[in-house]
């Protein structure tokens, strides 16, 4: 593995499987009376959040604390920290405090990459979501959830998602979750299909390692997992689609549509859900919907990433990199 986790595209197949396998062991810690491991004792991790995201921050914080790291939360939003030079200054302040890793969420695409590569700090950088670019731990927890449900909890160890058909539906254009998932799922051998109105697909999507469709109904029967992406209501104002009603009629997942999916297929959502827009309450609350599981799995995945990046004297080595 590389020193930092910036993009899902940076992970090799072996890196990704190692993370998923490690997360599977981390998940077992949650079943124990003492949900804590001493592994990162004496390491300091900063959660540097330039953008509000309580759920992601809490997930990282839980992971860090279960591994006994010292955790510092730095929420920059709303403070004077909003301009570029402040990212550098903040980074150097953290560096001066002897921070071992920075978990960064930033509204600007590429900010974590800049933090990791500009020589501002030595710490490991973990991208917790940057603009409309990447959110690699989200993709990992999604892949983890899929592997558990579609391959098996124990029988999945050491395996990827070879041949599984995954459909992502919704606002791909503005979604870092979609970008990360396309990269990672492709690396793991899955077949990915993006379904969205043409306005919500980026120019250039044709070069991505996936299929693109404008038609949800024809895609559903060929899907092992369907991931609904959040669609913000304010997109309507920029004419990405005419009305909420029309969007949900064409691209929303309701009970009737869910019935077209194969028996074993699951419904996923990175949250927060906009019920009534991309997903109906009936689907969101059904047994096939893994939203709550995804949250649980997020902690295990983040523990695995933290351990594999910070647990030793250098990041974990995988077979492909030794060559």
């Amino acid at each position: 593995m590389q020193r930092h986790l910036i993009s899902a595209a940076d992970l090799t197949r072996d890196d990704a499987v190692l993370i998923l396998d490690t997360a599977e062991e981390m998940a077992r810690v949650a079943d124990r009376p003492i949900k804590k491991l001493p592994t990162l004792r004496g390491r300091t991790v900063v959660n540097l959040f330039f953008e509000d995201s309580t759920r992601t921050r809490i997930s990282f914080e839980a992971a860090e604390k279960r591994l006994s790291a010292d955790v510092i939360n730095f929420t920059a939003k709303g403070s004077s920290v909003s301009k570029g030079e402040s990212l550098k200054d903040t980074a150097q302040t953290l560096e001066a405090m002897g921070v071992d890793a920075v978990v960064i969420r930033h509204g600007a695409s590429g900010a974590p990459y800049r933090l990791a590569t500009s020589g501002w700090i030595d710490a490991h950088v973990i991208n917790a979501g940057d603009g409309t670019h990447q959110h690699p731990t989200q993709a990992l927890l999604d892949a983890f959830t899929m592997r558990r449900r579609l391959v098996g909890r124990d029988s999945g160890i050491g395996k990827d998602l070879d041949g599984r058909r995954i459909t992502l539906v919704g606002d791909v254009l503005h979604s870092r979750v979609a970008r990360s998932n396309v990269d990672l799922l492709h690396t793991l051998g899955a077949h990915v299909t993006l379904v969205a109105p043409p306005t919500l697909l980026p120019v250039g999507v044709e070069t991505w390692p996936c299929e693109v469709s404008y038609d949800l109904d024809s895609t559903l029967p060929k899907s092992d997992a369907v991931m609904m992406l959040r669609v913000q209501r304010e997109r309507m104002n920029a004419a990405f689609f005419p009305t909420e009603r029309e969007y949900s009629r064409r691209y929303g997942l309701d009970g009737d549509r869910m019935a077209k999916m194969p028996e074993h297929a699951i419904v996923m959502h990175p949250g927060p859900m906009v019920r009534g827009m991309e997903i109906t309450a009936e689907v969101a609350d059904s047994d096939r919907c893994t939203v709550v599981e995804q949250v649980t799995n997020g902690v295990s995945i983040r523990m695995a990433v933290l351990y594999l990046l910070l647990g030793g004297n250098e990041p974990a080595q995988t077979r492909t990199e030794e060559k």
Partner: protein, 190 residues
Amino acid sequence: MDTQDTQPGSPDARPVLEGPDIARVLTRIAHEIVERAKGADDVVLLGIPTRGVFLARRLAAKLEQITERKVPCGSLDITMYRDDLRMHPPRALARTEIPGDGIDGRLVVLVDDVLFSGRTIRAALDALNDIGRPRAVQLAVLVDRGHRELPIRADYVGKNLPTSLRETVKVQLAEEDGRDTVLLGAKADQ
């Protein structure tokens, strides 16, 4: 877990225990456990990955033959409790599998292949501490090669093998390596 790898088939490695010897010492250890634990009815065997787990399973089978009772057997991965984590890249984790009834109030017998510095067992004791509170903890090893760095000793020893620090001890088990043997070899020059 304290095993130091030699190159497989290292020319100067010589076997000190062969398949039948290993079976024999495991049978002896099983009898000793029954003896010391007065019937072994509250024994839980926890093997330390990788080879300790196979040894624990073999011991469990032998205990079941002797006592005609099911003996709970699991695994305890100590990777996250190691004191040398910062000296290497992170290792892949192995499975920790605690038998259904847990370890509270039980006699836990830790099982490992080689007892060397004692640091693995120290980590295992820490790991156990986070999982429950056994009545007592004992240690069974296939080979004790000496050179302890901590005040730890084994309760059941397959073979005491005096070694120098320039030597390596490699345990091979059929489940992992295709054959049962314990090899004593010279450390590869750095």
